[in-house]
Amino acid sequence: MKIKDISIINFRLLEDVKLNVEEDITLIVGKNNTGKTSLFEVVNMFYSEKNNFSFHDFSQNTYVQFEECFRIFDAVQKETDEEKKEELEISLISSMPIIKLEIQLEYDKEKDSLINLSEFISDLDDSKNTATIKLQYQSKDSIRLFSLFVSRKEKEQKLIEWLNENITSYYDIKCYGGDNLIEENFKRKLFSVLCFETIQASRKLDDTKSDKNKTLAVGFSDYYRETNKDNNEDVESLEKQLKETSLVLNEKYESILKELLKKLKLFGVEPHLTIPEIVLQAGFDPENILKNNIKYFYKQDNITLPENFNGLGYSNLIYLVLKVVSFIEKFKKAAPLNKSETLTIFIEEPEAHLHPQMQQVFISQIKRTIKETKKKDGLSVQVIISTHSSHIVTEAGIDVERSFERIRYFSKLYDKAEKRYKVDVKDFNAFKHKESDAETFRFLKQYMSLHRCDIFFADKVILVEGTTERILLPLMINKVAENLNNEYVSIIEVGGAYTVKFKELLKFVNAKCLVITDIDSINPADNRKACPTDTANAETSNSTLLNWLPKQKLITDLINCSDKNKYDSDLIRVAYQIKENDSDYVARSLEDAVINRNKIFFNSTYQKDGSDKLVKDSFSLLKSKDLSISPYELAPKSGEKTDFTFDLMVFNEVETKLSWNVPKYIEEGLVWLANNEIAK
């Protein structure tokens, strides 16, 4: 049996999301504040012994619904016709907002025990093999809730404000198997089917020498507690040894404290009021000894270092692995009565304090543990990991079978109709290219694993042609779109024909994206050789421009293309060379455009060491050249490109009080990218 999917409604950021769960490892990725932690929270809150829900846990969209319910309540009060009144009451009850967690389980009729699970099966159809657990935080007395609101003392208090303080008395957790309410003792029934364990992000790791927080000690003693101690010779001999030691210690303590004990006896005032005799007994239990009385050292060559001398990284890694193994042990040896059918482990951001290699070690350890547990004990463990690390994504996801399919991408989408953001969970199983274009899918996989792609965590994405753009972009952003520095912009270097392969992926991750490319003019009359953009009948050879945006072939059409044809949805925009404000010249490449845009700059002089210096002399490419010839001719040939780029990069704008300008097409693109207003 395994979890198939988890759906959540009305919980914090998660208004309505559904998450498919993989058989072994599922990866939750996405930018900050997209509800990744809420997913773990909602499960833990429903599973907790106590009801910890409060009004804050309702997603904001429910506020309108509560207000609507109050209007219905008002109508109920005013209605005199019995029949209509009843109808309204029914509608009120069914409209009350509910926080809902629904877990679909898939079972194997032959292998799985249906005894406990059958409570949650509601469909006898032989072709279906799913059971549904539905947990709801729902109203138990809507009419009374609103009546009390009406009779509140402070009349100026608004509904939402009042609910915030009072809702917990009128809402309760209910559990359903399919649509059937499970009346008595639902927690026991729930636990008997499904068990969740969580390792939170805020782990208590301590890097100080105070030795207060002994991560490893805790990890090891947890492990000891959870392992099966029956018929284990080592455990028995350890316990026997401890018992013997206790006996010896008892005698020693007693002889030391003999005098004191004697005196205590004398305190009795009269025979009836004596102090009871005191006997000393050393109480050792292995778990506590592991935790409190054993020091952990890391062995390094011939020296042993105390636990707290080691980096947080190792402690964290060992702690995580120990935790996961303990969960599995605990699950295995759970008393039959409390045994559940499946185990699911949530791990929140395991990458904390781990450098990239260690993150990869961690993931491969987890993978191995799951595999071994399945092989050795026949137990399937599902692990759900939320992460911000592209290394974990690579190790757990991209480079192995069922690669992208493991990734669940949490993103916030702007709902135009409701004018607000909604969290959406995207699933690569639904990724367009998966079946239709296997080659593109393979390319993306390959690219992402080789480049440790951070596209899943980025606020915005810039696709560039080559190294020149990549090096210069940070400078250009500083010049024209400084706001972008406050966001996480992922710059992906992908040239030529491959850019368009990113199209579906970019739409999938739903991040605003600028594609910076070159106009690449060629002359069809001259063997399709590269030519200046003003050549008659020139065409472009750039497949992005030809096949994606703006889908134009002729250079003249590209130059005159209006801005609105440069978008794919609201989120992707292409930028290629266009006319600068002061001339009709259109460059062919980035370098070409930089030279064209900055003629004045290059011809300027500045003072250094008491003499005038020409700017262009700092550039090996332009030194001793006449800048009045076409920038097309001046532009560096492929071998000279990097020199030109570096010359531009190291040019000291502060000292010379001169600065170069960003070519217009890039400036326009960056300004658009930096703009966070929703409308285009």
Partner: protein, 281 residues
């Protein structure tokens, strides 16, 4: 078979239980049938209790009346391993959560009842043709004994439970799989008064599909049938007739004198009662 005749009925039953064989206890009046049932339950609690508890399985004991139900509960000190319930409680409890299928079967039952009324020439039939067209308006199929049945609103009644349960048990193997997994032992007290449909559910569906996984025991006396619709006897299911039910006879009579027993033996032929020492004088 001779040796078996020397064993007490309870000994034979416990042996069949160990062999995972279903059985019927044919016991004449005054033979202590109920006590044998209690002995059977206690035997299982003693010998299989821990295993059943670990696996969260239960023993089911079906009684004919609420009085009998409470009597048995008292006798086994309300042991939580045994689910003692009336036949209606048990059948409805086992099917009520499968609303999708219940609705399908309710529609079928409605058509059957409608046709029946029509054939009888009944003009005031409570059934309206083609419930399937309106079934989406039915929120939930519910069992309510306090009112008349009202299929249009999903309300079924006493006798409908028996019929709809038969249809559910017959048509959905997953249901009998679940019931056999949860309740490996099912005992029916006063089987002779059990409806034929119910016997069909238990033997033809539950037992036949899950032979060896479930043991069903019937306790009763074919000569003590009170109600018309009761099945009376189960002879066609006996192993001697190619079925799966082993016959156990209880021939002692603790209540009656020799002359009464002689009279009884004269007019019934499937059991020869014996007078116990206690009342032979």
């Amino acid at each position: 078979m001779k040796s078996q005749n020397n064993m007490t009925a309870f000994k034979q039953i416990s042996q069949y239980i160990e062999e995972s064989k279903s059985f019927i206890l044919e016991a004449g009046a005054g033979s202590g049938k109920t006590y044998t049932l209690i002995q059977t339950l206690n035997y299982l609690i003693q010998n299989k209790g821990d295993d059943l508890k670990k696996a969260t399985k239960k023993i089911v004991c079906i009684t004919y009346t609420n009085v009998a139900k409470n009597e048995i509960k008292d006798r086994i000190e309300n042991n939580e391993l045994v689910l003692v319930s009336t036949i209606h409680e048990f059948l409805w409890g086992s099917i009520k959560q499968y609303q999708k299928q219940l609705k399908i079967e309710l529609c079928k039952l409605n058509e059957i009842n409608f046709e029946k009324d029509k054939a009888k020439g009944k003009t005031d039939s409570r059934y309206i043709e083609k419930l399937a067209d309106r079934i989406d308006f039915v929120k939930k199929v519910e069992y309510n004994d306090t009112s008349f049945n009202d299929f249009e609103n999903g309300i079924i009644q006493h006798d409908d439970v028996i019929e709809i349960a038969k249809m559910m048990y017959e048509n959905y193997t997953l249901l009998t799989d679940i019931v056999s997994a949860r309740y490996p032992y099912v005992f029916v007290d006063e089987y002779q008064d059990t409806a034929e449909e119910t016997v069909f559910c238990l033997i033809d569906c539950l037992l036949k599909r899950n032979n060896k996984k479930v043991v069903i025991g019937f306790y009763g006396d074919s000569h003590q049938k009170i109600y018309d619709y009761g099945i009376g006897e189960l002879e066609k299911y006996y192993t001697s007739n190619g079925g799966q039910i082993e016959l156990v006879k209880k021939e002692e009579n603790y209540r009656s004198s020799l002359s009464v027993v002689g009279l009884l033996n004269n007019f019934r032929n499937n059991i020869i009662q014996k007078v116990t020492e206690r009342n032979s004088r």
